[in-house]
Amino acid sequence: MAIIRTRKHWVLTILALAVLFSLPLFLSGRVLHFINLVGITMIAAQGLNLLTGCAGQISLGQSAFMAVGAYSSALLCVHCGFPFWLALPSSALISGLVGVVVGTPSLRIKGFYLAMATLAAQMIIPWLVINVRTDLTGGSNALLVPAPVLFGFTFSSQQSLFYLIIPLTCLTLFLVRNLMRSRIGRAFIAVRDNDLAAEMMGISLLKYKLLAFFLSSVYAGLAGCLWAHWMRAISPDQFNILESIWFLGMIIVGGMGSVVGVAFATVFIKFFDIVITLFSPSLTSFMSPQLAQDMAAGLGPFVFGFIILVFLILEPRGLAHRWDIAKAYFRLWPFKY
């Protein structure tokens, strides 16, 4: 079944894309900044969705793979003089290879133990950045990254970066959605549901588990590379374990293995995040500055943890299930069922 099936779907898709790509014409830089952030986060979240949601391999290291992408792209650009168009795929590839290395234990262990192995990677990779060859990476200080240049055009404003990031996000969504209905995607789902049974039916666990890790890290590396050239300054503490938990949270909120659901969840969670950062100063303005700062810092984790817990308990199938219900409602209207 194709992704876009009917003439109506085609018209809607083209309209939606036209609206999306005309957004920079009338939106301010701050809104575009938010959209770019969501776009980059969505790429990494969809990568994790392939690995955890689809293939069932729990990973607590997605932001470490983003760090690999970000740092390899930055180092290639700054120290090896790579042009951006070459640094982007090579950093994604490097990140993918690191993902395969980290994913190797998945052949022996699974579930909780695998989560621990990826947690170890999450602790070790930023440590390597801080402590090894600090003359290149800048250690725990920020590393400055040049603006991306393509065909002589420099992407320096949020408007121009929008046209770099969002097409890649759309491409990612399309590719992941497409992969899930292919032979590979079916194999991932079989591995998730029961890996022993899948192997009995002729699915090579070696191949598909490592492929899942590779693809997931390639998307994380792509997101990391874009992040580096979008932020223009990267440091190891941007890629900490909390970020990895956020990615897992997006998958839970979105619904495991659902591309649309995870896309919604990314927007939803990033929106909450931005609302909290914007409004917590006014909520806490009557307090002393130190207290207000702590309250603002505490509100984010509190709300986010609460959202995940509520979704786990009340709607384990995530936003994807709500979306299906909404679609069914409009399809069947005016009848209930």
Binding site: R108, A120, W127, G249
Partner: protein, 291 residues
């Protein structure tokens, strides 16, 4: 001599790691949930003691029992709100539940106590170093080790000789079997979380006494218990002790003879090696899977 000094220091710190690991092993044994919220539970326990002693101005002998009671309540709350609705769900649900509880506790701690690291103005343990020949041993660490050992012995006796302890051991053997034998398994789960929270609070107080109480420092120490637990074996209390001592000694030796930066990461390298070579740990149970 230098070697012996580092070795003993590591051994003493290792006793504390073993206590932290116990907070995880107890819960895993009984409920098959891994407590990722341990670090934040440490911080909350330590902050509770700080509040009772310096905001309420209570003497230590009232403040410490009060902390134990409140930590118990915290454990019961966490189990009732976060874990019980997820009984029987897949493993990712329980991992995410404890992770989100750790985020919620972090948020609450920042709300109530703020981000600065505080220290107990009036130390609850003697601070001077003790001298034995050429060796210097921090009195604090010796006390920490003694308290950890006493807690360990107390818990082992509790499991061995009380009826509730027997129920808890039965629950660890198998949930269905225990339920069939008339044990209220849900109540045992709640109780386990309560005891583990008390153990975590004790660990948090001792860590806080030495390194200062803060939401940034204590959770990082809590994460160190994860390699200890996996090295010792997820279901094994003796494993937690031996794993804790081994990791403590290793960290101390690496920091003394190689590189303090490397010492920070060495527990995680051990964790990776354990997962690759012997995933069930030294004393854990090997799981055999059938379709």
């Amino acid at each position: 001599m230098l070697f012996l000094q580092f070795f003993l220091n590591g051994l003493l710190i290792g006793g504390l790691y073993a206590l932290l690991a116990l907070g995880i092993v107890l819960i895993y044994k009984a409920t098959h949930v891994f407590n990722f919220a341990l670090g934040e539970m440490l911080a909350v326990g330590a902050f509770l003691l700080y509040t009772f002693m310096f905001f309420a101005g209570l003497p230590a002998w009232i403040a410490i029992p009060l902390t134990i009671v409140s930590a118990m309540m915290l454990g019961l709350c966490v189990e009732r709100v976060g874990l019980r609705p997820l009984l029987g769900q897949p493993i990712l649900a329980s991992i995410m539940a404890t992770l989100s509880i750790s985020l919620i506790l972090r948020g609450i701690t920042l709300f109530v106590w703020g981000s600065p690291t505080v220290s107990l103005q009036e130390k609850i343990m003697p601070t001077k170093a003790m001298r034995m020949g050429d060796l210097f041993l921090s009195n604090e660490l010796i006390w920490t080790f003694v308290v950890s050992t006493v807690l360990f012995i107390f818990l082992l006796l509790f499991f061995r000789f009380t009826k509730t302890g027997l129920f808890m051991r039965a629950t660890a053997e198998g949930h269905d079997v225990a339920q069939a034998a008339g044990i209220n398994v849900e109540r045992i789960f709640a109780l386990t979380w309560g005891i583990a929270a008390v153990v975590a609070a004790a660990g948090g107080i001792m860590l806080g006494n030495r390194f200062g109480i803060g939401i940034t420092t204590l959770p990082m120490m809590g994460i160190k218990a994860f390699p200890v637990v996996l090295l010792g074996g997820l279901e094994s209390i003796p494993g937690a002790i031996i794993g804790g001592l081994m990791i403590g000694v290793l960290e101390s030796l690496v920091s003394g003879f190689a590189d303090p930066q490397l010492a920070e990461i060495s527990p995680y390298i051990v964790l990776l090696l354990v997962l690759l070579i012997r995933p069930e740990g030294l004393f854990g149970l090997k799981r055999i899977e059938r379709i």
